[in-house]
Symmetry: C2
Subunit: 584 residues, 2 copies
């Protein structure tokens, strides 16, 4: 009767978590710490004894907490929100991650830990805790102030960068080293995967959800949401990325569905239940004797987290053009580590590349910094006032001048509009190239399957290759045509700007630029695809024939392809530009 | 990486369940069947192959479905609703359970199955499926008609009786035989446990929930609800009852909390997720080849379920005083088996007393009868009309006369009020006796613990017994006093009715009856308690001393005890008589 054991264990966990949670809430301390403490009490390292029997199953189920936490984070991810605080968020988040990873790595090396431990410590210190910050700001009633909006922006960017970091760490842990080429390939593959799945997901998922929502059954809707969420995680696992990435991405895709509020309402209890289990699971792994053995590293790391994050986030916010007070508040708000650190710590343990002592240290640092968070937010104003008073006049004058200068530097009017158009076109070119590349990579995958299972049974290898290549080429034609048209528009725009108005000669030059450049780019893209798809390239004569056929088809069906593509594009923009107004 | 395996399995299940659910909902078929079919597809008995790797963990987690299903049923349980359709519901439900258990048992024996298989088959056929009926009535838009209310009443009574049946079946399965004495002891213990936990639960749980609700945090509230739910299940498991009983009872207790709507809103998604898993788990165990091998039993059982339930429930409803049309509609609505049958089937497998073929047979019967349910509800009217037309005049005249007679038989005015008062007093006496018994049983438990762990270290055995007995006596005094007072009131009332108004002699007789009977009853109760608590009875001289002390305390503190008890009683009634008006 293993089932009864598991349910008993779960009962013990829920009972103790419930009691501790109420006590923590009564003393106005973060509930998350209550869960961790409950885990410590239940766990094997504290008296009276291990209160649960089947901790294997509990740990397995607790991992669902990661799925639902990341899924919820994804639901709160919002391209519009992000664009409003975009520049600040990017600068601060990027600066913070680089600095904190470096500080963490250096601290690890200083204490003589092995390189992989130091690297994972760096990664664990890099990301602040969305859960804890949102709760603290909520309780202090500061959620709608501008610095809070900046903090949320930084958190979103951190989440995205963290996803990339998890992928990178897994790669490094598996290969044992960092190679610039590897990093490039990893980041490239990850970007390709993210762009393609986001585009396809945004086209499909909101439509599926809208269809199911018409049934007016919360149960069917919830099961569909869970089916899509877990189904996508399955795909991501097949691609050998982490489940955290998958849950976050499908959450971000569903964030664009009209039924967002319903999804949030249905998922919240499930997330709360499993995240409680997840944090209790964190506590289960915590051995309090580590607090004594590793008191010194814990103290150093805690100080480093608080000072490093205040400095990195504050400076990043300031550089991006905010005043000193706002920068200080942002920096002090972000000075803690939380759920992401636990996820990365689990990753290290799962991949068996980190030492056992790392996990409890990170839990301890997270507990201390979490407890400090509300006080740091409250202290931000007095500290920034005192800092301003203590600062030498010359520095503060330079600082003020920088802020002023930056505000005048912002592109305005026509220039800003032009800049926006260019950014938009470049983004569209990138997305279309990504779709083309994805089609050809899918072709290689299909060819691999054919080669494995149907070897020789359909046709000889050359014909197989030709068929797959032709299919991929046909599917990618709309995207290639779109790429050509966008590049055309872009180079005309650029030619206009660079050459200005002029005579006949200039007109010819402009035409040359605006038509030759796109063609050259397309040729370059085709060449790249040729290299990518080397495995399915048919022999030269066949290839020539296929390209000729493609050219004829393109010429004949140009308008049709453009229409198809435009329709897809409109569908995508519709999804992105609606508002989640249905409060069901 | 077992965790990844489990999450992959869950992902496969959720994905397939999501797809099948949408398809089933599109064709307006019960979603529950969709889950079961998804389980069959995923399971090992159908091509392509077993799609999940770690089915042990899946099955363990699926058992949580039982907890949440029963908890939700408990939340819908309502004493007020029940009292409105009480008599009909009790007669129909009791008749149905007895008849169906007997029919099931006989069918099992007819096919030559062993006695335990036949008995479990009977139990599986006894209870109709709340989930499926509610969905069917909802979809047909008949939820608020009178026959639907009767159906819900019968379902509630069935749920309660089923709980008793599960306890009995476990007992029989463990001992191998049915003994009238055992049944009496089992039912007595179960009733005692249910009364005591309901009283204590109703006093404590709504107050705890009201306190936590003031935090205005859905997360803390949910974790508290889960903590209470699982904590109570833990207690129930300790008492060696099933977790289904525990979840149902704590649900029924929470149904009296003011925050019922919030609880329902937070629990619904979790229940939907785990009940989906539970039904998929049912499908996993289903081997379609059984359909062929056991085609004949399945057909016979299906026909027996439909005809037997139409007959038993219809007749019961009619006997309780409803017209023929309503009775037919009630009977046809209840003609299926569902989640309870699976729970009992699992019980049999877990206790290893039933054969493997029973589970798939029940799943098949459930699937067919579930599919029939909406049609049966629709056909109820035409069938009852045709039955009325085909019925010989003499029978229909007798039937009509019965209905008329019964309606005149209902107690009215003063008599009805008097009857209500008597029922109420008897209920209070039973509850107070139950509390007294519980206090002494707890005393025995405490003494057992003392004997085991502190043997000889505190005092000699006699003193230990005396202390424990004194404590139990002191704690039970308020309940004993209340019992005496209620009995007093009851016998005065009865004396009034029996003897009527009369002279001096009658007055004396009345006083005699009204004072002697209660004293005798109390003496009887004390004697019973003495027998119950034989293990902690101190030696006679000490006992006499203690009883004398108790008598003195009673005399001195009579009013205080009465005040305490009244306060508790008021608190209990307050909980029961509020309305769940807070739609948060």
């Amino acid at each position: 009767m293993h089932g009864a054991e598991f349910i008993q264990d779960l009962a013990v966990i829920m009972l103790i978590a419930g009691i501790v949670t109420i006590i923590f809430h009564y003393f106005r301390q973060p509930v998350v710490l209550g869960y961790i403490l409950a885990g410590v009490i239940i766990g094997p390292h504290t008296p009276p004894f291990e209160l649960i029997q089947d901790d294997r199953t509990i740990k397995i189920v607790a991992e669902l907490g990661v799925v639902f936490l990341m899924f919820s984070l994804g639901l709160e991810f919002n391209l519009k929100k992000l664009s409003r605080v975009g520049v600040t968020a990017f600068i601060a988040a990027f600066g913070e991650i680089v600095l904190m990873t470096w500080i963490g790595y250096e601290i690890g090396r200083y204490f003589g830990w092995k390189a992989m431990d130091a690297l994972f410590l760096g990664a664990m210190l890099a990301i602040s805790s969305t859960t804890i910050i949102i709760k603290a700001l909520d309780e202090l009633g500061l959620k709608h102030e501008r610095f809070a909006q900046l903090i949320f922006g930084i958190l979103i960017v951190e989440d995205v960068l963290a996803i990339g970091m998890i992928a990178l760490l897994s790669g490094i842990a598996m290969n044992g080293s960092v190679d610039a080429g590897d990093v490039f390939v990893t980041v490239g593959k990850l970007s390709l995967f993210m762009i393609v799945t986001l585009v396809l997901g945004l086209l499909l998922v909101p439509r599926i959800l809208a269809y199911v929502a018409r049934f007016k059954s919360n149960e069917v809707f919830l099961i569909t949401v869970l089916g899509l969420c877990f189904g996508f995680c399955l795909l991501v696992l097949q691609m050998e990325y982490s489940i955290a990435l998958g849950a976050f991405m499908i959450g971000a895709i569903m964030a664009e569905a009209r039924q967002l509020h319903l999804i949030e309402r249905l998922i919240a209890p499930i997330r709360d239940m499993f995240s409680a289990l997840f944090f209790v699971g964190v506590g289960l792994l915590f051995n309090p004797t580590v607090l004594v053995t590793y008191a010194w590293p814990i103290a150093v790391i805690t100080v480093a987290v608080v000072l490093g994050k205040v400095f990195a986030c504050g400076l990043g916010t300031f550089i991006a053009g905010n005043d000193g007070r706002t920068s200080m508040r942002v920096g002090m708000g972000l000075s803690q580590i939380g759920e992401f650190s636990f996820i990365i710590a689990s990753l290290g343990l799962t991949l068996q590349v980190t030492s056992d002592f790392l996990y409890p240290i990170v839990v301890a640092v997270s507990a201390v910094t979490t407890l400090l968070t509300p006080y740091l937010i409250k202290w931000a104003d007095p500290v920034s006032l005192r800092a301003a008073a203590a600062m030498p006049d010359s520095i503060s004058r330079v600082a003020n001048r920088y802020t002023d200068w930056l505000q005048h530097k912002q592109p305005e009017g026509d220039r800003a509009a032009l800049f926006k158009i260019i950014v938009r076109i470049v983004a569209q070119v990138i997305v279309n190239c990504a779709m083309t590349a994805a089609v050809f990579l899918a072709g290689i995958y299909v060819f691999g399957v054919i080669e494995k299972h149907l070897a020789g049974s359909i046709a000889d290898e050359h014909t197989q290759k030709a068929i797959v290549f032709a299919g991929a080429l046909a599917l990618s034609l709309p995207f290639l045509i779109a790429t050509y048209r966008k590049l055309n528009a872009l180079s005309q725009l650029l030619a206009e700007i660079v050459i200005g108005d002029g005579g006949h000669f200039v007109y010819g030059l402009r035409r040359l630029i605006s038509e030759v450049i796109p063609l050259l780019s397309i040729a370059g893209i085709l060449l790249l695809i040729g290299l990518l798809s080397a495995r399915i390239l048919p022999p030269t004569n066949m290839l020539m024939l296929l390209l000729l056929a493609a050219a004829i088809v393109t010429a004949l069906l140009w308008k049709t392809f453009v229409r198809w593509h435009t329709r897809l594009q409109i569908a995508l923009f519709e999804t992105l530009e609606h508002s989640n107004d249905e409060k069901t």
